[in-house]
């Protein structure tokens, strides 16, 4: 979060975030304190259960998805032999949370935001999954450590550059980042599905968004950049460098590009990224053929 505020400040020439504490390092703390101090407001008519479940169902999968990411050779919580699928399946539950949150808030902005973000989430899930299938084909396994092992000599980004690009863009869309952040388009929908949320629950959404960003970036680092593989430095450091590079890429995109319209987004998903991901699948097959 800190980094994001920094970068956004740098790019948009804002002052604040660089002056809270030395080099603005305390900005995050200030943000959190501010959030927790805020009153937890719940609209009177909102459905209590759905209102509470919404943020939880967005945050929990994001946190859970870290379980299968190899932070460095031995640093992985669970090296499931279906780890890659796990990473695709578990964050999928987020869509339920977004819908619930939008619905429960009992207000049209939130409702529209919830519907939009879920629709977007599901549409972009398809090309993203297909791209990951390509990687799994090359690795010949769904186990994270096997995927890493397969990239010992050549990281997959060199074999599947198209897949890498599609993955990055669809990930951006899935976690609702600009230029794909229609669901929370500040100018038209106030803040989208979390308009009515405040304080602690809002912080959960915040956490979910950044958790998903880091998880997805870490996943990309493993799938395409070889994760902890690298000379000299320990694996953990390599992994962190690669992940942060992708995170930085994301933030850079966020603060420089304008936003798409909702229908443009859908068209993009189905007419551009889906075919591209299929092409990537064919390419993966060809690469596999060439290697063997």
């Amino acid at each position: 979060m800190l980094v994001e505020r920094w970068i956004s400040a740098r790019i948009q020439l804002r002052v604040g975030p660089r002056h809270t504490g030395p080099y603005g390092t305390l900005q995050t703390v200030a943000d959190i304190v501010k959030l927790l101090m805020k009153e937890d407001v719940r609209p009177v008519q909102a459905d209590a259960m759905a209102f509470r479940l919404g943020p939880m169902l967005t945050a929990v999968p994001a946190v859970m998805s870290f379980a299968v990411i190899p932070f460095g050779a031995p640093l992985i919580m669970r090296d499931l032999n279906v780890g890659v699928l796990y990473f695709l399946a578990v964050p999928g539950v987020t869509a339920v949370g977004l819908l619930l949150a939008g619905w429960a808030s009992y207000d049209n902005y939130s409702f529209l935001g919830g519907l939009r973000s879920s629709a977007q989430f599901i549409s972009y899930e398809i090309p993203r999954t297909l791209v990951v299938v390509g990687v799994a084909m090359l690795a010949g396994s769904l186990r994270m450590s096997d995927v890493l092992e397969a990239q010992r000599s050549v990281p997959f980004v060199l074999l599947l550059p198209l897949g890498f690009v599609v993955y990055i863009v669809t990930t951006l869309a899935e976690i609702n980042r600009t230029p794909f952040d229609i669901p929370e388009a500040e100018s038209e929908l106030v803040a989208g599905y979390h308009t009515e949320y405040s304080g602690f629950r809002w912080a959960l959404f915040f956490l979910a968004e950044y958790g998903a960003l880091f998880a997805a970036s870490g996943f990309a680092a493993v799938l395409f950049l070889g994760g902890g593989n690298g000379p000299l430095l320990p694996p953990f450091v390599w992994f962190l460098i690669k992940t942060l590079a992708i995170v930085f890429l994301n933030m850079w995109v966020r603060w420089t590009l304008p936003r798409f319209r909702s229908d443009q987004l859908m068209r993009l998903a189905w007419k551009v990224f889906l075919p591209l991901s299929l092409v990537n699948l064919v390419l993966a097959g060809l690469v596999l053929q060439a290697v063997n």
Binding site: M49, Y86, L88, A89
Partner: protein, 164 residues
């Protein structure tokens, strides 16, 4: 199944049964769908305990991330007027009796069934599943593709017809 696994199995079994019952009984559609989500997750954990890790994740991926979301969409698009959509009047009686009867028969059959104990199970289900799908079950796998196409076309036709 080891001791811990057995405990997990029982806990998740109870969770599945309770959430299924709640999904069926509650009069609020939204809660019914959410209970279905909880039920499906519990069943997915049961799959994992029964050494079907791939099926377990497919369950989460397709059911929770797909079917439940679809149901929520349908609910929200159809009930935008009323914020707490309720299921209408029910008729119990004969149906309930029939359901209990069937459940009883099944349970008795299960208790009396004379089945062999499960032997060793392969660690890596994925590679075996892949092999099965491309050999013994190849035809079923391909047929599944055709069915998905059929479902897609059917749903589209149903919705599009209405718009005209």
């Amino acid at each position: 199944m080891g001791g811990g696994q057995a405990v997990l199995f029982v806990v998740m079994g109870v969770a599945a049964a309770v959430s299924a019952l709640y999904a069926v009984l509650t009069r609020q559609l939204l809660r019914s769908i959410m209970a279905l989500g909880a039920f499906l997750t519990a069943v997915a954990v049961e799959f994992y305990v029964l050494s079907a890790d791939f099926v377990s994740l497919v369950q989460i991926f397709v059911y929770v991330g797909g079917v439940v979301v679809l149901m929520l969409f349908a609910l929200m698009l159809s009930a935008s007027g009323e914020r707490h959509p309720m299921a209408g009047a029910d008729r119990a009686g004969l149906g309930a009796v029939l359901a209990y009867l069937v459940g009883g028969v099944l349970a008795v059959t299960a208790l009396r069934a004379d089945l062999p104990e499960p032997g060793a199970f392969p660690e890596q289900t994925v590679s075996y599943l892949g092999r099965a799908l491309l050999a013994e079950q190849l035809f079923a796998f391909e047929l599944m593709g055709v069915i998905l196409l059929a479902a897609l076309v059917t749903a589209l036709v149903v919705v599009r017809k209405e718009r005209q």
